[in-house]
């Protein structure tokens, strides 16, 4: 079972690259943002940018959930992990995110019971197997991941589990996009929309981008042909003077999203008035906390956390990278002081982070070579 071969066909890829080349106006520079870290990873894994004309530039957006976690939240998580009797669970990449005094991995080395899980459901299983302990799940992710946390909380409530708590760091994708579009730093021509966030929220929430900001957006899948086709669709819109939301990823994304998932999210979560994003500051109504009906499971109500805002390290330019203002190799510490083994900034931690994608696929301090 491969299911992916048809979306990695080299000949079709070259044909699409030819169509893209034919669609660009010579002398015009196109800046397209791929919102999602999964796209950034695919672009460098498959060398998609090398197939594009020199005047089509891909800019990397804020859609890597690990990368946007601010240091203060990591510190809060570590404080909970050090509470007596707590088993602290999180996804693997979170273990290595630096807080102001080390990472969760360092907290584990200092004696905290920190465990990696692959899903919130795994964390709930740990809680059920350790009734004399309190188990906290450090939840991160966009609307793709939030339903999984929500379903686990519903399950915990239905089963009467009393020793399971969630520290929610879930975020939503539309507010940071609006913040980016309102920022004077960046001039963009169009967006490659996030594929799997859209399986949950649908393509409709992105309609404000063409309507209010006059930029086309194409929701795209993660295989090389998906990304190339999305670029071609955006360029076609620009060439024809159209500006709308299109869905390239129809094999998975319904335009209206997943109704059941949206209902579960509305039941279990409530919008925070504001939430801090690394490098982007506080963005209003961009974070999710547990709703009143699930307050008994809220780790932030159960434990005292410092809740202190911690400034990013001075050397780190993750904020500029996340906003697409600079390329990863333009950061002073990229590939020297900051590497995937010893990250300073979040973008170097997750494989979906722009810096890690550049580093892992050999894009060091150089302009791309155009075929």
């Amino acid at each position: 079972m491969r299911f992916v071969d048809e979306f990695r066909d080299a000949e079709l890829g070259r044909a699409l690259a030819g169509e893209i080349l034919a669609a660009v106006e010579p002398g015009r520079h196109y800046k397209l943002m791929e919102v999602c870290g999964g796209h950034t990873h695919s672009i460098y894994k498959y060398g998609i940018d090398d197939l594009l004309p020199a005047n089509v530039e891909l800019v990397h957006g804020p859609g890597c959930p690990v990368c946007v976690i601010p240091m203060g939240r990591v510190d809060d998580g570590i404080a909970i992990a050090h509470e007596p009797g707590v088993i602290f669970t999180c996804f693997g990449d979170m273990l290595r995110i630096p807080g102001s005094d080390g990472s969760l991995q360092d907290a584990k080395a200092r004696g905290a019971d920190v465990r990696m899980v692959y899903s919130p459901l795994d964390a709930l299983r740990i809680a059920k197997a350790n009734e004399d302990r309190e188990v906290v799940f450090f939840a991160i992710g966009f609307e793709t991941t939030a339903p999984s946390t929500a379903l686990t909380l519903k399950r915990a409530k239905a089963e009467g589990v009393r020793n399971f708590f969630v520290m929610s760091n879930h975020v939503t994708i539309v507010p940071p996009l609006r913040a980016l579009l309102d920022s004077p730093d960046l001039r963009l021509d169009g967006f490659i929309g996030p594929g799997h966030v859209s399986t949950v929220v649908g393509a409709r929430p992105f309609e404000f981008i063409p309507a209010r900001y006059g930029k086309p957006l194409v929701v795209a899948g993660f295989e090389p042909l998906d990304v190339l086709q999305a670029v071609r669709m955006i360029l076609a819109q620009l060439a024809e003077g159209r500006c709308e939301v299109e869905n390239q990823y129809t094999r998975v994304v319904p335009y209206e999203g997943n109704r059941r998932a949206l209902e579960v999210l509305a039941e279990v979560f409530a919008l925070r008035p504001h939430f801090e994003w690394r490098g982007m500051g506080f963005i209003s109504q961009s974070g999710l906390k547990l709703s009143g009906a699930y307050a008994d499971f809220d780790a932030e109500l159960r434990y005292a956390v410092p809740g202190v805002r911690v400034a990013d390290p001075k050397a780190c330019q993750c904020g500029e990278v996340l906003k697409g203002v600079i390329k990863p190799w333009e950061c002073k510490v990229f590939g020297t002081a900051c590497t995937p083994e010893r990250p300073i900034g979040t973008c170097m931690v997750s494989s979906e982070g722009a810096c890690a994608a550049y580093y892992n696929f050999g894009r060091f301090a150089r302009e791309r070579e155009v075929v």
């Binding site: 693997g92 991160i140 793709t144 999984s148 799997h196 998975v252 997943n258 494989s351």
Partner: protein
């Protein structure tokens, strides 16, 4: 879908296609297998009725869509 071996499948905006092997309707779970033969238990509350052989898009232990 991209190979799970090199992607952050747990926390990014990524998901993997998995084939349903067994369905436990009472618990709302299905045993699924990915392209590499890895098996795991998956929440199926967010997708329409699931049957053995169906292909689901799974993210963080939850099926978020059908993969056609």
């Amino acid at each position: 879908m991209s190979e799970p071996s090199c992607n952050c499948i747990t926390c990014g905006d990524e998901a993997v296609a998995m084939r349903v092997q067994r369905v436990d309707e009472q618990r709302g779970l299905a045993l699924c297998e990915d392209a590499a033969g890895q098996r795991s238990s998956v929440e199926i509350a967010l997708v329409e009725a699931v049957a053995v052989g169906d292909r689901l898009l799974v993210h963080a232990g939850t099926a978020i869509a059908r993969a056609e």
